[in-house]
């Protein structure tokens, strides 16, 4: 056992692990996350890699806590460096302070300046020697033992994780790894953490899930049974999870030749009566806009989950940004009312996708669901996500309806849709402007009526309390959306803790945004900061366009790839006082 005494307990601890290609950084992170989950904690794990397709350096960034964790912290408590190769590439992603602890191997060479410059404490351990002494030993397993011990996890809990994960690789590897873990635990450490996690009394049932898996699950919960898609980073894992899962629940996934095909394929699937979805990222979404316009005009419900990455153009495919809001809101030619929702965190990916599918079905329109790389490709230990409101489902036409009119002007703007197979319901869906029957028309009255219908039906949407998550009160409001919400809420909590109260409003239903509810939530507010991770302040300007912001509202819009951190928001708000 080591000689360090932990003096304080705290709600979260942040741990980064870095190493060159093949050093097993990601495996280590995943095992650590599983182990802390088993021990009753929550946690978040983000990943970062160099440009190499394989064999390049990589980093995992974990934040572990006794309560749910929705964002990375301002700084890391621990950096575990399996080696120093190209570590500088990650320096900006792993902010350190003087009180951070850097664990490294003195035999790995000198600590690079980009890391050393913070003057953090260091714990030197002969990782390589220790692993070399074990037949089949690996540095990362030693490191895992070291980290687990420092975090105060019981050795058995980590051993169970390793055992389960490596079992398929054979007994020898398992045994070698067990030995490494134990050595990591037992090795002498001349420094430790200044804090440990608050123990958890009776752990709740929790999930360990990635944002992209969570989105996939939301789709199936919402009723999606057909998916056509073209792979793209960072959305592909949604598809990888959905392909086998859909098959189990009687649905299917079709790999399309491109995004033009995938969007039109799901329009076909949905026309056939099967709730349909595709997943993509910015470049793919760009290619889908024509098809999405067809879905809006033909009133065929479809859902696109867009996992945002750095833009514009090919941009930064492996890193996160919230810069596809504009295209999601406004990227159509012509006036094309539709739905846009944004997932606030990994857990919310399930809820918001589920809800988005249901809304698209009820309103027979397009729903674009925005997630991003920082959620999609990160894993989190979460409470099981809630179910979305049931909504009304797709309104279908009964067989042999008299004088069936597909685009009938009903009171609520939603017209019964005849599903192929329904006798007497045959009609032709059209992207040309049409009359109530669906016959193409260029008359101004038909155009006006159908435009009114497609816009008007969305006013029937009941935003419930789910349109946004709001917390706190006071004269300062922080408005945000998507993955910036975690940092915004944390900033809100910290302000509160510092005696300065603030309300944080994280908008989930981005379009149609319920203006009255927003205005009500802002009542009594003096100053507003709109927080988002992009260059142009897309959400800020959208709120302006809706006339929801007072003149003195400000924006904190900062592009990716670095996540918005709570401290950044704090710093900005503190300029006000």
């Amino acid at each position: 056992m080591t000689n360090h005494n932990t003096v304080l307990t705290c709600s979260t601890l942040s741990v980064a692990i870095t190493g060159s290609g093949g050093s097993g950084v990601v495996t280590t992170g995943q095992m650590l996350l599983k182990a802390i989950a088993n021990a009753g904690y929550y946690g978040l794990m983000a990943r970062s890699a160099g440009p190499q397709i394989r064999g390049g350096e990589s980093a995992v960034m974990l934040r572990l806590g006794s309560e749910p964790v929705d964002c990375l912290d301002d700084r890391f408590d621990v950096l575990m460096a399996l080696d120093w190769l190209n570590v500088s590439r990650f320096a900006e992603e792993i902010p350190l302070t003087a009180s951070s602890l850097i664990i490294c191997d003195p035999d790995a060479g000198e600590m690079p300046e980009a890391i050393a410059c913070h003057g953090a404490r260091s714990l030197e351990l002969p990782l390589k020697k220790l692993s070399g002494a074990i037949d089949g030993g690996r540095i990362n397993m030693i490191a895992l033992g070291v980290l687990a011990e420092l975090l105060g996890l019981p050795e058995t809990s980590i051993l169970t994780v390793v055992e389960t994960a490596l079992a398929p690789k054979g007994r020898e590897i398992v045994d070698a790894s067990r030995l490494c873990i134990s050595r990591g635990y037992s090795t002498e450490k001349n420094a430790g953490l200044e804090q440990t996690l608050t123990p958890v009394a009776s752990p709740a049932k929790r999930w360990n899930i990635s944002g992209n898996e969570a989105s996939g699950l939301g789709a199936i919960r919402g009723g999606v049974r057909f998916v056509a898609a073209y792979p793209i980073t960072p959305a592909s894992e949604i598809l990888e999870w959905l392909a086998p899962s859909l098959e189990k629940v009687g649905g299917s996934l079709l790999q399309a030749e491109d995004e033009l095909a995938s969007i039109n394929m799901i329009i076909g699937g949905s026309f056939g009566g099967v709730p349909s979805l595709t997943a993509t990222s910015g470049p793919g979404l760009s290619l889908m806009m024509e098809g999405l316009g067809l879905a809006v005009t033909s009133e065929t419900p479809v859902v696109v989950t867009n996992v945002m990455r750095g833009g514009p153009s090919t941009g930064i495919p492996t890193k996160s940004e919230q810069s596809d809001l504009n295209i999601a809101l406004y990227g159509f030619h012509g006036d094309a009312p539709h739905l846009v929702l944004g997932a606030l965190n990994i857990r919310d990916c399930t809820f918001v996708t589920d809800w988005g599918v249901r809304l698209a079905e009820q309103f027979q329109t397009v729903a674009i669901i925005l997630s991003d790389q920082s959620q999609g490709q990160a894993r989190s230990v979460i409470d099981p996500p809630p179910m979305a409101p049931a909504c009304k489902g797709r309104r279908t036409a009964r067989p042999d309806t008299q004088e069936y009119r597909r685009y009938a002007l009903t009171e609520d703007g939603i017209s019964p849709m005849a599903i192929p197979g329904t006798s007497g319901g045959a009609y032709t869906a059209d992207g040309l402007e049409h009359n109530e029957k669906g016959t193409p028309s260029s008359m101004s009255l038909d155009h006006q009526q159908q435009l009114d219908k497609r816009l008007g039906k969305l006013t029937g949407l009941d935003p419930t309390e789910n349109w946004a998550e709001s917390r706190g009160s006071g004269k300062i409001a922080i408005i945000t959306w998507g993955s910036s919400s975690g940092a915004a809420f944390e900033a809100g909590r910290r302000l509160e803790a510092g005696g300065q109260s603030a309300r944080v409003i994280a908008v989930r239903l981005l379009c149609p945004l319920p203006g009255t509810l927003m205005t009500a939530s802002l009542e009594g507010v003096d100053r507003i900061l709109v927080v988002e991770q992009n260059h142009g302040g897309q959400f800020f300007h959208y709120l302006r366009a809706l006339n929801l912001l007072p003149d003195n509202a400000e924006m904190l819009a900062r592009p990716g790839p670095l996540p918005i951190r709570p401290g950044e928001i704090m710093a900005r708000v503190s300029e006000w006082s």
């Binding site: 929790r206 189990k248 299917s252 095909a261 076909g268 192929p420 197979g421 329904t422 045959a426 032709t428």
Partner: protein, 278 residues
């Protein structure tokens, strides 16, 4: 093949909506409409189990004129939309209709991949060697020396796209060519195409009197294929390559498994969620 109990007594006109086509007088597409409705009547397919999908173009207006389910989508994407429909609803008879521009210019990629995928559907291209709807530009099947479009005043200058050849090397399992001047022959081809289990492609030579009046001459140029349809792709390739594009009939037919999603349910959502529990 399609599992629909034939309803006797259905006439071709029962498959027409009665909406007046936008087509010019004398357009070949009238004849395709008539052949399609005759084929549907012959097969006695129940209206509700048939879907007719198209893109944009004069020819792509077809769905509105047939009284089955229809989707008039966007330019070039008919095959994609139809493939999604068929994947989600394998029980439906899916027909796809369009023009040479829609199918081979903007839609060329979906043509390649729909042929490869060999889903059980029928694709009818009304080939008039021109973009009719946009008032007469060269399409991929236009001859290189056709100079009547202002966009290509010296002619497109590019060899003609040979739909049957591309379909063959891409993997289509039924390839036929018909002519609107012979509506009964076309009807027969459509019936065979619809009955064929897999991706069937019918090129219907369908003159555009407005922008290609010279195609009146097709009447004299077309002739039935000399040989029986082959199922040997090498022989078919040779025939198609040496042909002048004017022989009509089934050019190639073979049977290989169609692409179809797996069927059956083995879990509910709750069971899918189990893997996520810590």
């Amino acid at each position: 093949m399609h599992g629909n109990t034939p309803i006797t007594g259905l006439k071709p006109k029962d498959y027409k909506t009665g909406i007046k086509p936008v087509w010019c007088p004398g357009c070949g597409d009238f004849s395709v409409l008539s052949a399609v409705t005759k084929a549907l009547a012959h097969l006695a397919l129940p209206h509700q189990n048939v879907a007719m999908i198209s893109g944009i173009g004069c020819s792509s207006r077809l769905p509105a004129y047939t009284s089955v389910y229809g989707f008039h989508g966007v330019h070039g994407r008919a095959l994609a939309l139809a493939s999604g429909l068929k994947a989600a609803r394998p029980d439906l008879t899916v027909l796809v209709a369009g023009g040479d521009g829609d199918g081979f210019s903007i839609g060329g990629n979906h043509f390649l991949h729909a042929c490869r995928r060999n889903m059980d559907m029928t694709y009818i291209v009304m080939d008039n060697e021109v973009y009719g709807m946009t008032k007469g530009q060269a399409s991929p099947t236009t001859a290189p020396d056709w100079t009547q479009s202002k966009l290509t005043p010296h002619g497109p200058g590019v060899p003609q796209f040979i739909p049957a050849a591309i379909a063959l090397v891409s993997g289509a399992t039924f390839i036929a060519r018909g002519f609107t001047g012979n509506p009964n022959g076309l009807t027969k081809l459509l019936v065979e195409a619809i009955e064929h289990p897999g991706f069937s492609f019918v090129q219907a030579l369908s003159p555009c009197p407005t922008y290609r009046p010279e195609h009146k001459a097709w009447k004299k140029q077309v002739r039935p294929v000399e040989e029986e349809a082959t199922s040997d792709p090498i022989i078919a390739a040779q025939r198609i390559q040496t042909d002048d594009g004017m022989s009509t009939g089934v050019l190639y037919q073979t049977t290989v498994p169609v692409w179809q999603p797996e069927q059956g349910i083995s879990a509910d959502t709750g069971q899918l969620e189990e893997v996520f529990f810590v």
